[in-house]
Symmetry: C2
Subunit: 534 residues, 2 copies
């Protein structure tokens, strides 16, 4: 095979001459553009290799010495990488929040890289800075619906910020809690603030033993990262049991008060609008009152559920979100933007000033550089994808998509409930639900039977994933019905607009067929026959 | 104009039918692919609008109610956004670290979005997880050059991690210092560790008054963010003056010792390999000894300079980097990957376990999910861009690019030095240099004259940016020659391989012409004439 030459001329060419129209890379591009679904079903192999086999393709540890031709490498990418990727576009991939994307993001991704702006500062982003501020403003309006005068005053103000664009919901949540910490432990006479003096001095100054954050056990794992990184400590992440899948305002208030009676300060209460595991929405309106009572920051993690605000029919489920001090939303979930578009919005445009910082060469005081109030530094122009989506879908388009997702989840719940060998565990509030296999003869499974059912679910979930036609995920939950014992359940996220009812029927049938072949299924039947015989 | 309809059928179509080949978006794509430079020079207007004018395009705060056709929106993107972006591809945009990218990233960006993997867990990334681990391993090898057996053991180990892929250098630096903090304040008898119990309890347990981090004043602003977010406090970010632009090991040791004599603990020493402002490299080898002496974590911020390790001729400048406990590298800088590819590597593959975390539904104990040891959660497959670049350039290709950048910087330094009205302020170690205008009659500018020179530089820099043909940045520096007074300088980053010597000559000439028309230039000449007359 011809080798690419390690000459400077060759390197310049990579920067100045595109690949020819008949090159491998151009073919890939065309296939992607013409029919993404076909591209993926042809190149992603369904009967997947094991992870260990795939790792063999990626076991070299040295950057290759010599250059390679682009097309030669494109071939390798298809064989080694694309073939063993996950087909997140597939209508039967309903196990996680990553779904099919609209086509227009493909050319926009190219435009994004072609422009290669850096949003940390205006000098490397220009129009992208006001665009991003507008996108954040639109998210803010979606949540808080403030007055036109409010947005006119704050949207492009150098002294304010309505939120921060982040690489994802985790950074958005951390940013919100960072702001909450710095606001609480702000400068006061004799004290220059936690940002300047640090956490130990701040607790000492304010006379607090510990800080704490409170949420339900369904809180996202990013909250645990946040209390770790912020120096609060994971033990101060107070997570309440929630067999109903929703945080009880009474229990939250009682726990918050008990925590404070020990000389501690509850820094923030976190409500969830669409839990990762079951899609439940906490009673935000009442939690807002609890936060007020406890005089603490109220953060809402609406990474998944935020897009529900587009729907006239369903937005009431998030009532009270407008009372939150900060809200996280992920545009890369139900707003169908590619991965990498988390946003946090702050009710009070002064709040981000609690984390404002400057440098000599950029982010000078008085500048509108976005990097002055974000946790991240250099960032790409992903806000363009959100901007384009807002315009191309419009509120009405999003409403249609959200409504059909929730309708579909309800229909799937009905399918499960009407099947004698399945049990619906958590019905859908939004478009997430959990269920499990429970053979018809088991009306009230005991502890031993539940353990066997757990094994059954794990086995079926793995086999179904490995068969490669469809994918549901699994998790472990405590639910009211089986309070003494967490159970393992299938978890389904109905985000993909292309998933049909027939897809769902097929998935259930496949699970049923797989279940009947497992050892646990047989053991369960024997147990039950023995019982009948007694 | 026809209106897009708010129907579910229309929404499905956006997901299933690409735009036609003669659509506006397809035209944009083709132009981008055929000739990126031409696309940008046609669409990015050179005589830019003011930021306030651009903000007018982005002043709405409501998500539009009705959908828009994709092509209709594409037109708007060109007019409102692309037209007022920054042409970072241009060879005369030499003010920041964002540069032209190789063509192959355009189709790869499309592939990335088409695949839309989520790297937080294997279930949504499969082959991308081992690929990312390999990319991190290659970066680790570039820095530490460990044995083949070492990489075989750790590259894909579920219990180890050689580093973390991050959205950028800021998150990479924060991750490194988070690990350093948690390692220092680890569990010990009677103490469950800072991650669990928090920072105040940790300082109390270990008997430390405060933690501190030490770097030179050229340290990146992300260090200040890190000490803020980690609860250490900005006042404990000890930044030493460095009129030579390099951190003095003797002064670092003395300051570290003095800090510890007050009952404090120096948590980390940060060396810089390529400072953002001048491109200097700290004496890493000696700083490693200082860190050893102080028994603290040694972090090297090589976000800019790390790629120098590809060059046989220049890598000696980074000698000692292999002694660092952690190193930050940005592939989106001198490795020519699109924005969003920061990496931190850890010498010790156990180190990331100091921040390891789990959840029920993903990141289960024993899994290889990448999210278990990263600060971020959901992330896209940007590692593919680094992987492809490593293969397409090869070490040799990168070496050629690095060598030519440094050569070009040296030639530019010579041009500046040989011009009687310019002063080279900091010569290039790597490919960054600073200089200023200093009319020939001013051999030893006094304080007043330096102030006028500052005004001159600011004025010329702004005018040149506004004229739109070229862009250099500016900063303020303390340098040995003018120790009593920080001065304002032009800052040039010679990263773009397409920048020619003629471009540099033109930029100097333009600055000279602009300078002669400024008020400060005239005042400086009058001052000097008065002096001569005295």
């Amino acid at each position: 095979m011809a080798k690419a030459s390690a000459s400077l001329e060759h390197m310049y060419r990579v920067f100045t001459k595109p690949e020819g129209k008949d090159s491998k890379l151009a073919q890939i591009e065309e296939h992607l553009s013409d029919n993404l679904s076909d591209f993926l079903s042809r190149h992603v192999v369904t009967k997947a290799k094991s992870l260990e086999e795939v790792e063999q393709h990626f076991s070299a540890h040295k950057v290759p010495e010599s250059p390679e031709f682009v097309s030669q490498h494109a071939e390798a990418l298809l064989d080694k990488l694309v073939a063993h990727s996950v087909n997140t576009y597939s209508p039967t991939f309903i196990g996680h929040m990553t779904s099919a994307l609209p086509y227009f993001h493909l050319p926009l991704a190219k435009l994004l890289v072609g422009l290669n702006q850096n949003l940390v500062k205006i000098e490397t982003s220009k129009a992208f800075t006001p665009l991003e501020r507008q996108v954040i403003g639109m998210m803010h309006d979606l949540v808080y619906n403030d007055s036109a005068a409010f947005y006119q005053q704050h949207l492009h103000s150098a002294k304010h910020s309505l939120g921060a664009f982040c690489s994802g919901g985790t950074i958005a949540n951390i940013t919100a809690l960072w702001v909450a910490r710095n606001k609480l432990l702000k400068p006061s006479p004799g004290f220059r603030g936690v940002a300047q003096q640090g956490l130990a001095a701040a607790l000492n100054h304010y006379g607090y033993n510990k800080l704490g954050i409170l949420s339900s056990k369904r809180g996202h794992y990013s909250l645990a990262k946040a209390v770790d990184v912020l120096g609060i400590g994971r033990e101060q992440m107070l997570m309440l049991d929630c067999p109903s899948q929703r945080l009880s305002p009474e229990k939250a208030l009682a726990l918050g008060q008990a925590f404070e009676q020990q000389g501690n300060k509850l820094m923030a209460l976190v409500g969830i609008a669409g839990t990762t595991e079951t899609g439940h929405v906490d009673p935000l309106d009442e939690l807002a009152d609890v936060a007020k009572e406890l005089n603490c920051h109220f953060h809402v993690d609406a990474a998944w559920g935020g897009a529900t605000l587009f729907s006239q029919q369903h937005k009431h489920k998030l009532k009270g979100i407008e009372k939150a001090d900060s809200v996280t939303l992920d545009a890369h979930k139900q707003m169908y933007v590619p991965m990498g578009a988390g946003i946090v919005v702050f009710k009070n445009p002064e709040d981000s000033n609690a984390v404002r910082h400057h440098a000599q060469y950029i982010l000078r005081a008085g500048s509108k550089d976005l990097g002055a109030t974000t946790l991240e530094g250099s960032r790409n122009g992903m806000a363009m994808m959100v901007y384009a989506s807002f315009h191309i879908f419009g509120r009405q388009g999003y409403e249609l998509l959200i409504d059909q997702s929730i309708d579909k989840a309800k229909r799937f719940a009905t399918l499960i409930e009407s099947h004698q060998d399945f049990e619906l565990v958590t019905p859908p509030t939004l478009s997430i639900l959990t269920y499990r296999i429970k053979p018809r003869h088991l009306s009230h499974p005991d502890i031993r039977e539940n353990e066997l059912l757990d094994e059954l679910v794990v086995s079926v979930q793995k086999q179904q994933r490995e068969a490669g036609k469809s994918f549901v995920s699994r998790t472990r939950l405590s639910v009211e019905k089986y309070q003494q014992q967490p159970i393992t359940v299938f978890r389904v996220v109905l985000a993909n607009p292309l998933t049909t009812e027939q897809d769902l029927i097929n998935i259930l049938n496949e699970q049923h067929d797989l279940a009947k072949q497992t050892a646990s299924w047989k053991v369960l039947h024997q147990l039950s026959e023995n019982e009948s015989a007694e």
